[in-house]
Amino acid sequence: MKLAAIDYVILSLYFAFVLGIGWMLRKKISTSGDFLTSGHSVPVWITSLAFLAANLGAQELVGMSGNGAKYGIMTAHFYWVGAVPAMIFVGIFMMPFYYGSRARSVPEYLKLRFDEKTRGLNALSFAGMTIFSSGISMYALGLLLKLVLGWSFTTSVLCSAAIVLAYTFLGGLTSAIYNEVLQFFLIVFGFTPLSVMAVMKAGGWSGVASRLPQVMTHSWKYIAHTNENPMGIEIFGLVAGLGFVMSFGYWCTDFLVIQRAMAANSMSASRRTPVIAALPKMMMPFIVIIPGIAALALSKMAVGYALPMKNGGPDYDQVLTTLMGQFYPAGMLGVGLTGLMASFMSGMAGNVTAFNTVFTYDIYQTYIRPGAPDHHYLTVGRITTLAGVALSICTAYLAQSYNSINDLLQLVFSFVNAPLFGTFLLGMFWKRATGHGAFFGLLSGTCAAALTHGLTVAEGKGGWLGQVHEFPSTMAQNFWIAIMAWTVCFVMTIAVSLASAPRPERELVGLVYGLTPLKHDEGVSWYKRPVPLAIVIGLLALILNFWFA
């Protein structure tokens, strides 16, 4: 891909704005709360878009368009089944406890609801995961810049790290959130035209459908059995594994996204944040998946487009960039590339700001130095930003030198994340759940995940303890690992809770459903109330599912 001078102008313009926003925000930071939690003062439209954009990394853009070409519209399950219901659930049912408890982080909620050891377990595993996630973002950006611009890996990693460091160091969470919103707009304006042009070139949606096998343009029709679809999944694994455990485990417990909703300026706004974010989320397949499907259709026409190849097979990760190169002239090419870089960088920044908060409040203030004056924690927060970026650079190099480390990490994340939703579900809706129950439930759930992976095989992965069952795809294996982990965590938490002493109810007010008075916001228009808004958005998601069934 050849970039013209104007493309570099657009790229520099974006960086100038990103740094400018950080510089303008630096004066507003006077307490650790301003820096780490935005002082609960961000308007709801901004927190909503940031809630969505913090998760919209460039791996998602590149990966989902590649999956579109590989699996077709079934990829949209990751949005319409694997995200929207969980986002609505966290807004309506869980934000009242997160926001109402005044916890500053997800681990801190666990401390308030359960005990110190459950918080410690969650804080440590979360801090580790964020560093690796941000390092992997950095590594992927390094690969992209090397490929597109011809920069060396070291130059691109250090350059992007410096920019992220500059704006998160200056403006903290607010700066990261503002840049996530800017990135979201850039992606919408930068990639919607690509989707429209690719589909038009292939003769509209009917033209795309006529050139591809039926299974590529139907999301539900070929899902009764694993051998009917290229993903190798069936309906129970999909709905229970992806739609329930994996998506609720991520959207309802991952501090990276919850932190955005916690920054909202009122309880109602924090509940509406994930609900409003679900609306653009369900539209994302039209921007990220449809271009991949259209690319596959184009490759079967005589228009001069071929899927990129690597080692004799299609290189799905290059689908998006090759489409950009073929449809965009100098100018728009710069915008598209800036959008990609922006989403890599905000992926890093999101992880760094979440790491900051968890380290400062849940590790440093709890175990290392409690009771210091607030300006001390502000300084620690800033130093942690520096350390977080430095550690991310190390993990980026680690990922570069050991390619398989990515797979290993994804695996570890899934072991840790899958059971978490069981803990939160019981913690928020069953007042009898105890600290011992939560801790041992989490541990045994994680072990169950590892055991399932060790005893089953899929595409040559897993089975390091023996082979009891073989899955048709790693995706199906992941869904079942999640189901097993959640079930074991759920059952163990209940069993251990019943065997241990309950906490007095007065200690649980504001933390558990049934003991927390919920404020009803009557007299406000329906779109400013979480529940009616959730019903409308839920119906829209249902319509989309039927439309592409």
């Binding site: 313009l13 926003i21 707009f185 002239p329 728009m332």
Partner: protein, 66 residues
């Protein structure tokens, strides 16, 4: 708190101006799979969107100053 609509609006107005300018000055900028004036048609909505954000920010600022 700084109003995000000001920097975001300014960014998209500038980006829109650059792209529309490119579209008018060099309408035949090559792209392999399309003959459309991509820069012009993508730049215009950005310009309008940026202007809209600035308008909202301006109205909000006027309301708070009154």
């Amino acid at each position: 708190m700084m109003d995000l609509r000001v920097p975001a609006g300014s960014f998209f107005v500038l980006l829109g101006l650059i792209l529309v300018g490119m579209g008018i000055l060099t309408p035949g900028e090559p792209a392999a799979l399309t003959d459309a004036n991509v820069n012009l048609y993508c730049g215009l909505p950005m310009l309008v969107f940026g202007g809209f954000l600035l308008l909202l920010a301006w109205r909000a600022a006027r309301r708070t100053s009154q």
